[in-house]
Amino acid sequence: MPLLSVSGSENVICLKSKSLRQKSEVLDDETLVTHVAAADRGAYAVLVHRHGLRYRALAYRMMGDMALAEDLVQEAFVKLWTHADRFDAKKAKFTTWFHRIVVNRCLDEKRKRTHDPLPEGFDQEDEAENAEETMVTDSANRALRTAVEGLPDRQRVAVTLSYFDGLSNVEAADVMDLKLKAYESLLVRARAKLRDELESSKTGLLAVLG
């Protein structure tokens, strides 16, 4: 029995008879998306296994809430399944296109939440508890995480894409729809702000420790 069969007038290769592992070794993302557009669940599953957790991590770093990050990434994958035909491999790589979907969805959600009132019964974080936590061994990482969370949205996206998601400057600029120079300037501003924040938190910690 052939592993690949051709169906329809558009020579869409039906991959349903191949195992996921075989597919992931053979096909690139862009080809898989064309199969998803033809309702190939197997191709969709490969993309999920290949990128699902990466985008969950990206959304989590932007939103700081795992449950919300998972919901947003699921919405992005629903869009992939229902609108895969809108992807144009000539214009962008799959990862760039999908990064845009996830990042824009996260930014939309953040904007929405900025205007929403706090839910009833919401308690602010205990400042005293945070002060104690800053003295534990990973206080530097904690301070950096806080500093990253405190960045303006676009700077936070830039830091996340470049340092946590491993995109090149060119790819990240493409995701954010910026010219390369503009993206690099944004990243420089973000780094400067992070350095300032870390410096002030270090000074504060030293003052607490006497």
């Binding site: 309702a39 699902g52 957790l53 969950r56 795992m66 229902t82 950096l144 420089v188 780094r191």
Partner: protein
Amino acid sequence: MKPMTIEEFELARVAHGADMAQWPDDVAERARTFLATDEGAAVAESEQALDAQLASLAVPMETDAGADAFLDRLLDVPAQHGQPVQGADAGFLSTLTGLYRDFRNLFSPLGLASQGVAYALVLFVGVFVGLQQPYDEESTLDLSSALFSSSADFYLEDQ
């Protein structure tokens, strides 16, 4: 050689990476001169410390307990969301509506060309239909007689 500023150094580091061996020769040369100063050394140390901290935060988050459950959720998407039926709205009308679906398309070369063709088509049909109508002198109406007679009536009534 123009001395490098802090801003230039930071921008070069972001653009070319931490490894100065990868930088363009002229930029690297200016950077080495800058780093030889106290200010430059302090900036470089601060940049390296930030890079190290960012790298320590960039640990992959793909092995937690909820990862498998999350992937299962994603794999259920096709069962819960149908794809739009391919070709259901195919045809001229859908192509036309597709063109106008995205507002930016209106001003793309294709959008402008299609608008031009549409205007020309309407103009041509209008002129063509107009030319098909015979010129009929008999159908010309002269309302002046009725107008004058009614005016005369009013005038006579006033008298």
